[in-house]
């Protein structure tokens, strides 16, 4: 065999081992998530929520709701947020200089009136235009400010918040009525909680009434359908598995509860960050570890928020490219934490996994395709080896996706129809043929744009939620 042939075969073998190791790590997360999901399900079932609601034990919460061009869904979302089953909470909606009529929608729907804006500006933000309270909903506070991005809006909302816990919620997110109650369970269980993440599910094709998902359905279209499986995989075993490894790096920006004192101590959300939730959580880990504060950041699966995912490839591409760009930026920014035992399991386990497993995966996968095709065409790699590569990279991935469907089926079973279950299995199988390669391509583009463009937010066109047929 020539030197070139040796290089091709060696590279292919190395890539094969990489995917084997990566997918095995996912399998480990999956195994770890099984006792975790069992424990969480048991705790969720055993909680006597009525008793809790009657007690004054629950900590007051401020919901931070940044809104940019959310005219289509803002009224339904905010109405639903204002009628959650929780005793003490407020909702701070921030209109981030929307170009559409978001603020008019809010003003009309909630009978807003302007109030003086005086509270300490703990975190600097773009200038506020006005502060509104509602004549009909005393829990609601609306800030109208100049456009500064999601992170800036969240910081403005934090400044205006009154309560010790803050939850960042996207304006297009539909929160289940008891989700706040469930999300505070770790606080009741007495652990040293810095932040708690809940599950985000896909709302596309679900029936929504009065801002609530009344009937969960799997989308019939492939693109949002595959994203249902992706979300299940990410939340049900990815984050639950990380609970056991003590290194949750992502508390979803669409639905995550944080201690406000920790958020303000690290200066709030970074406006220069592309993916503000990942950046915030990593900085919080870094701050708490550096200050030797005992803490946990658990993910709990039963509090659920529903969100609309992109249905067009163009918008999905922008979203995935941005997420990956954010990941690259965060890994680069906090490279000092990588393999650093000072940061405990976050430094030694989570950061390397995200850097080498998540960030580099698209590069290595593309390299694998190129080398395999090259090797096959030049006769340096035999067909069995190429198929082995496909099985390890795709087959293993497909099995993990199906496992996520199994976890959903044995635990929460939000999709009751047999047809929906079959669709989920179908999407889990099809994900690896076409969709996976497209996401690899989008993520690959992030490497290019991260150096060229800096960070730019993509626009998401909301189409609004389906309502029940009368």
């Amino acid at each position: 065999m020539s030197i070139f042939g040796g290089v091709v075969t060696g590279t292919d073998l190395a890539i094969l081992v990489y995917f084997l190791a990566l997918n095995s790590f996912y399998a480990l997360l999956l195994l770890l998530s099984i006792p975790e999901i069992w424990e969480q399900t048991r705790l969720a079932e055993d909680d006597d929520f009525q008793r809790l609601m009657q007690s004054d034990a629950l900590p007051p919460i401020t919901m931070l709701v940044p809104a940019y061009n959310e005219s289509a869904t803002i009224e339904a979302s905010v109405t639903a947020m204002l009628t959650l089953e929780y005793r003490s909470y407020e909702v701070v909606v921030v209109n981030d200089g929307s170009k559409d009529d978001t603020i008019e929608q809010l003003r009309h729907a909630f009978d807003l009136y302007e109030v003086p804006r005086i509270y300490p500006e703990t975190i600097p933000t773009r200038p506020l235009r006005a502060v509104y309270r509602s004549r009909t909903r005393s829990r609601l506070l609306v800030l109208d400010k100049e456009n500064g991005g999601k992170a800036d809006s969240l910081n403005a909302a934090i400044n205006a918040s009154r309560f010790p816990l803050v939850i960042a919620v996207d304006a297009d997110t539909l929160i289940e009525p008891d989700a706040l109650l469930r999300l505070t369970r770790p606080f009741l269980l007495g652990r040293e909680i810095a932040a708690v993440g809940g599950t985000v599910r896909v709302a596309n094709n679900c029936i929504v009434k009065d801002g609530r998902v009344t009937d969960a359905r799997v989308p019939r279209r492939l693109l949002p359908g595959v994203q249902v499986v992706e979300y299940l995989r990410a939340f049900l075993f990815g984050r639950l598995g990380w609970n056991r490894l003590g290194g949750n790096l992502i508390i979803s920006g669409a639905f995550g509860l944080f201690r406000k004192d920790y958020v303000t101590a690290i200066g709030g959300y970074r406006t220069t960050s592309v993916v503000e939730d990942l950046d915030l959580v990593i900085r919080m880990h870094r701050y708490l570890r550096a200050h030797k504060v005992r803490y946990v950041m658990p993910f709990i699966p039963d509090p659920v928020a529903w969100t609309e995912v992109p249905e067009s490839a163009k918008i999905l591409a922008r979203q995935r490219e941005r997420w990956h760009r954010g990941l690259i930026a965060a890994m680069w920014e906090y490279k000092g934490m990588l393999f650093n035992p000072r940061y405990g399991r976050v430094g030694v386990l989570a950061m390397p996994f995200y850097a080498f497993g998540e960030m580099l995966a698209p590069l290595i996968e593309v390299l694998g395709y190129v080398v395999t095709v090259l090797g096959l065409s030049a006769g340096m790699v035999n067909l069995s080896f190429a198929l082995l590569f496909i099985l390890v990279a795709w087959g293993y991935g497909m099995l993990l996706s199906i496992w996520a469907v199994v976890l959903e089926e044995v635990s929460f079973r939000r999709y009751r129809r047999f047809g929906d279950l079959l669709l989920l299995l179908l999407y889990a199988s099809l994900e690896n043929f076409g969709y996976r390669q497209r996401t690899v391509w989008w993520r690959l583009k992030a490497f290019v744009t991260v150096w060229k463009r800096g960070h730019v937010w993509g626009d998401m066109t909301r189409k609004g939620f389906a309502t029940p047929q009368s």
Partner: protein, 353 residues
């Protein structure tokens, strides 16, 4: 081993796993359907018998039969669900009858189990079905290392009056996370006489590290018998204790409270000053109005806010004071006055809470 052989092994393993997963999904659906077909009628029957018994239309025996036919976790769920709907005397009758049921005896033995979920099951059962003989068990469960277990066990205080159990919960309270403390406090409030006697003793120990937490609990009770002790704590060296004293004194409109709050309004710690303002607003003693008005010029925003809210509780005189300040020279005081005067009554009440 050649790559072809490895491929075959991997394909075989993946194929088997795939088949197993699909089978698991199908079996799970089938098992659930069968289980619900078997259990739903029993659950409905148990529920119906409980409803009839609660309306005194059927003897207790029917309820016991219905519960015994359910799996233990479902029986406990039914008991917890119904416990809030059946009056105390009749519920005690049921709890006494359950003492002789085989499944309830089995659940009681779980208080010593090495598995937390078994102890949790026991704690949940005892939270609604405990008898005086269960006190030792409950004390053990209240001291359980698993939070879910002791949180469930402490709920038994809703139905049981037991000094050892109350004291066990009270002694655990300072060592818990704030939210859990608040939950314990809401349960302990029901055993007021025992709690107050014990608190009076604990609040005298000036060097006790648990003192701030006991003082915080005393605030929640708003018990006149604790007024003197809380007034004395207004001069404690620990600012955390002084904060609690300042909070507590607002519930006691007494000249000694006003005197202590006047001292606390000039405290070095702004948190103490803010609480003092809140309490002065609750008492709304006319002599303290100039003091509260002066606090609108405090260096800390929170103290100014609390002072502004307090002034609103002084009625027309407080409102007039705010109107004057709104036109005054001090920009900080003016801003707060403008904010408070712009708030609707509901928002004001929420802010003041």
């Amino acid at each position: 081993m050649t790559s072809r052989q490895v491929l075959l092994v991997v394909a075989l393993v993946q194929g088997v796993l795939l088949a197993a997963l699909v089978a698991l999904i199908i079996l799970n659906r089938w098992f659930r359907l069968r289980r619900s077909a078997r259990l739903d009628p029993r659950r409905v029957a148990a529920d119906a018998s409980m409803r009839r018994w609660a309306a005194e239309a059927t003897p207790l025996a029917a309820v016991l039969v219905g519960l015994a036919r359910l799996p233990v976790p479902l029986a406990i769920d039914a008991l917890v669900g119904w416990s809030a709907r059946v009056p105390g005397e009749r519920w005690r009758e049921l709890a006494a009858a359950l003492e002789h049921e085989w499944w309830a005896r089995l659940v009681r033995t779980n208080s010593n189990s090495g598995r937390w979920w078994k102890r949790l099951e026991c704690a949940r059962f005892l939270s609604v079905g405990a008898m005086p003989a269960d006190v030792a068990r409950l004390v053990r469960l209240v001291n359980d290392p698993h939070a879910a277990v002791h949180v469930a066990a402490v709920a038994s205080l809703e139905r049981m009056e037991s000094t050892p159990l109350t004291l066990a919960a009270l002694e655990r309270l300072p060592h818990l996370a704030p939210t859990v403390q608040a939950y314990y406090a809401s349960m302990l409030r029901r055993s007021r006489p025992v709690v107050i006697q014990h608190l009076l003793k604990r609040l005298r120990r000036g060097d006790d590290p648990a003192l701030p937490r006991f003082a915080e609990f005393a605030v929640r009770l708003a018990e006149p018998a604790l007024r003197e002790r809380m007034t004395a704590l207004a001069d404690h060296a620990d600012p955390e204790v002084r904060i609690q004293a300042a909070r507590a004194l607002g519930s006691f409109p007494h000249r000694e409270s006003v005197a202590a709050l006047t001292r606390l309004a000039a405290d070095a710690a702004w948190e103490v000053r803010a609480q003092a303002m809140r309490s002065l607003g609750m008492i709304a003693d006319a002599t303290t109005l100039p003091l509260v008005r002066a606090a609108l010029r405090d260096t800390v925003w929170w103290v100014r806010l609390r002072a502004g809210l307090a002034l609103m509780r002084f009625g027309a005189t407080g409102r007039n004071a705010l109107l004057e300040v709104e036109l005054g020279a001090d920009p900080d005081a003016r801003d707060v006055a403008k904010l408070i005067l712009g708030l609707p009554a509901q928002a004001l009440a929420e802010f003041a809470a």
